[in-house]
Symmetry: C2
């Protein structure tokens, strides 16, 4: 096992940060790592908004569902899937861009995720840690307004970055045989593996909460998925030029 | 600049491979790195199919639009967004899962991309290189059939992995000011920056092709986006239980 593999396998989300700043040139180095990720057909569809304005940060804390670390992290980035840039490129050549394809939504969203994961890995290699903030999609319309995002630009997730003021345990992942299959999808042994894994997760929560929380993975999933999942999303994305066809 | 940042910034896609194999335990180490990536609300929605069957590989070459490296790479992985597993978890607790939300499509797709980017970074740290294969979405229904993917499991992209038998140049990325914005989205300087960048891209292609190809980035984008983008995608995904609401 080399240092990079050790680094990747020691990832945990960090939500409490010291006051230590991250210099702008370090941040830009991280963003360059993001840009170096693969990009579908060279579209380069990720735009990062670094939110420095204190008032905007406070608003984002609330818009993301009361996540105070959105304000207290040294840096807060919003990763946006951006096809507006391609509209510009098309205009430069008087080409009529065809928009709204679901395929474009996939490529732009995936581009952002590959980009962001490189940013986080690069950060962690520098001793900086962080957490993805999917919560900005709670009130995605307000976030879009706050950051002045035009049509064809949607905020996929945020990311807090800073120096850790906590030392969370690694969270156990699903057994390998559940997530890695040979040649064909076959989940006939998955219930047995998940049942075993459920006990590991219970143990993780018990240790972490001094016995207060004792939830299995499958239980947590079941609790979550009986509820609506940001039901505004499809209409919102359509209103911004995505997922129209 | 540390070794990890150097590694990330030296990424290029590799499509020609030597015959050198990748051991199964090394592959599993890479997949564990994928699993260590952040996952939205702990859903762990990525399943990897490692395609070993030679005939299936040959079929995938064609289904991905005649990409021979899908067969010649030491390993070929298909990363699937998988909410079927969550259906199992809900069944274990007699919970009625609410499916079809666009939000679930986003979280599952992003989960896959974060996972895959960790796999590729880990591979590159071991001297293995590769390329993402979005082309498996060309004939996504046939790919889904070949891999026996059930409803709620969709193949996001493939990945070839192996030892490089080529040494491609780094492909220049957009200027930093185009992809990184402060506080608000503002693209008023983007056309100027893209115009400058276009010349870099032309130069890259000229060098790489001995003068035969000479295309600016904006030109390439404009050529691509006047065409339909996998117009079957939305209907296909709906038929699998995604993007219904």
């Amino acid at each position: 096992m080399n240092d990079v593999i050790r680094l990747l396998q020691s990832h945990r989300s960090v939500r409490k940060f010291t006051d230590q700043a991250i210099a702008q040139d370090a941040l830009e180095e991280l963003v360059k790592c993001g840009q170096s990720a693969a990009t579908s057909s060279f579209i380069q569809a990720c735009t990062v908004i670094q939110v420095e304005d204190k008032d905007a940060r406070e608003q984002l804390v609330q818009l993301a569902g009361s996540q105070p670390y959105v304000a207290s992290a040294a840096r807060f980035l919003v990763f946006c899937a951006d096809m507006k840039r391609h509209q510009l490129a098309c205009n430069m050549h008087e080409a009529d861009m065809l928009c709204g394809y679901t395929e474009q939504f996939i490529t732009a969203t995936v581009d952002c995720a590959l980009f962001a994961q490189n940013v986080l890995t690069a950060a962690e290699s520098m001793g900086i840690e962080g957490v993805y903030i999917g919560g900005i999609r709670n009130q995605i319309q307000a976030v879009t307004g706050l950051l002045a995002l035009p049509d064809l630009v949607y905020p996929v997730f945020g990311m807090c970055l800073g120096y850790a003021a906590q030392d969370p345990e690694l969270k156990p992942r699903l057994p390998l045989d559940v997530v890695l299959k040979k040649n064909r999808y076959d989940d006939s042994d998955d219930i047995a593996s998940i049942t075993e894994y459920d006990e590991q997760v219970r143990k993780y929560y018990r240790t972490r909460t001094g016995g207060k929380k004792d939830t299995a993975w499958s239980e947590q999933v079941a609790d979550m998925l009986v509820k609506e999942a940001r039901p505004h999303m499809l209409d919102f994305l359509k209103s911004r030029g995505y997922l129209l066809k």
